[in-house]
C-alpha cells in the first residue's frame, strides 16, 4: 500500500515453500500484495506490508502458510496485560481445523 508502512521485521507470517502447491489463493485474498507467484510457487514479495489478517493461511489448501494474528487494538492489548484476557492470539496454521 503506497505511503502506508508500519513496523518492519515483526510479522509472524511463515511460508513453507515445500508444501506450496501453487494454487495462488494467497495472492488472491491478500489485501496488500504481499505475495507473488513465481515458477509455480508462491513467494513473499513484501513481508513488511503484511498486516497479519490471516486470510492467506486460512485459504491455503496445503497448510503451507501460517500467521499468528493478534487483535491489533491497543485498548485490548492493554487490558490483556492488566487483566490476563485470554485469546490474545488466534493461531491460524496447519493445526487449525476450520
Amino acid at each position: 500500500m503506497e505511503g502506508f508502512r508500519y513496523m518492519d521485521g515483526v510479522v509472524t507470517l511463515q511460508l513453507e515453500e515445500v508444501a506450496c502447491v501453487g494454487c495462488g489463493m494467497c495472492q488472491t485474498v491478500c489485501p496488500h500484495e504481499v505475495f507473488t507467484m513465481n515458477r509455480g510457487k508462491a513467494r513473499i514479495l513484501d513481508r513488511d506490508a503484511c498486516m497479519e489478517c490471516g486470510a492467506c493461511a486460512k485459504n491455503c489448501p496445503s497448510d503451507a502458510l501460517s500467521v499468528t494474528p493478534g487483535v491489533g487494538c491497543a485498548n485490548y492489548v492493554i487490558q490483556s496485560w492488566l487483566g490476563g484476557r485470554k485469546e490474545l492470539f488466534r493461531n491460524i496454521s496447519k493445526h487449525a481445523n476450520v
Binding site: 502506508f4 486460512k58 487483535v71 485498548n75 488466534r90
Partner: protein, 310 residues
Amino acid sequence: MRWGMGRHRYRIEPRLYAVGSPEPDSPVLVTANYKMTFDVLRKELGGQNAWILVLETEGINVWCAAGKGTFGTEEVARRVKTTRLAEVVNHRSLILPQLGAPGVAAHRVREECGFSVVYGPVHAQDIPRFLMEGMKTTPEMRRVAFPVSERVALAPVELAGFLKPTAWVFLALFLLAGVGPWVFSPSAFLHRGLGASGVWLAGVLCGAVITPVLLPWIPGRAFSAKGGLVGGFFAACIVAFFWEALGVFQGMALLVALSVISSFAAMNFTGATPFTSPSGVEKEMRRAIPLQAAAVALAVILWVGSTFTG
C-alpha cells in the same frame, strides 16, 4: 451511525434476499448482516438481477466478522443449507467479498455445503465490472487502501470513544487543580482545572483526529511518535502564544502533557487502520507506554509544582 451510536443494533435478518428479478442462474453474493454493509451492496447492485445471501454476523461488518470468525466457513455452509439455496439456483457458485477471506476457508466450503467460493473484489462498487468481465479482477480491486476520506470518516467514532475517559480525566484534573501551597483554593481549582481540561481536549483532538487525517505525511512509523510530534507542535504554538501567562513550569507541563495525550490517542488509532499488524502494535506499545507513563508523571509534577514557584 458514524458516531458509533446504535451500531450494535444496526442489523438485518440473515436470509436470502433478491435484487431486481433474479433467476435460477443469477449470481449469489454473500455478505454480513450489518445494515450499513448490506445497504452498500444492495445499492451497488442496483439494476442487476442477483441473490444476496446474508450471514448471521451479529450486526458486524464483513472484515471484522471474518477476523472474529463469525463471517466464517461454518456460517456460510449453515446459511446455504437453512435458505435451501441449492433449490433456488441451478449453479453451485458463491461470490464472497475478498475481505471475508480471513474467516472463510474457501476449499472447505464446497465439502460442507456443495457450493464453491469465488472471491470478488474488496469494494462493492467494483462488483458490476467484476460480473461483467466474467468474474475477473484487476490488482486494484484486490488492494485495500486508506485514503484521507476514510481517515476523516473515522474521526467521529474515535472521538466518541474518548467520551467516558474524558469524564474521569476532568474529575481528576479538577481535583488536582486546586492543590497547592494553599492546600486547596476554589479559584485555582476553576482556573487551572479549566486550563488543564483544555489541554486534555487539545491532546485528544491532535491524537484522535489530526494525526489520523495527516497520517502518511507525519514522520515516524510508530503512531505514538506521530501523535507526539503533532501534539508537541500544537503545544509549542500555545506555549509561545501564552508564554507570559503560563510561566516556565506550567509551560513545560503543557508541552509534555499535550504531547503525551496526543501520543496515546494516536497509538489507539492503530486498531482502526487496515495496515497495522498486531505484532507491530504490540512492539510499539511495549516501547511507548512506559515512556508515556513517565511523561504523564513528569507533567503532573511540573503542573502541581508550578503553584509552589509562583
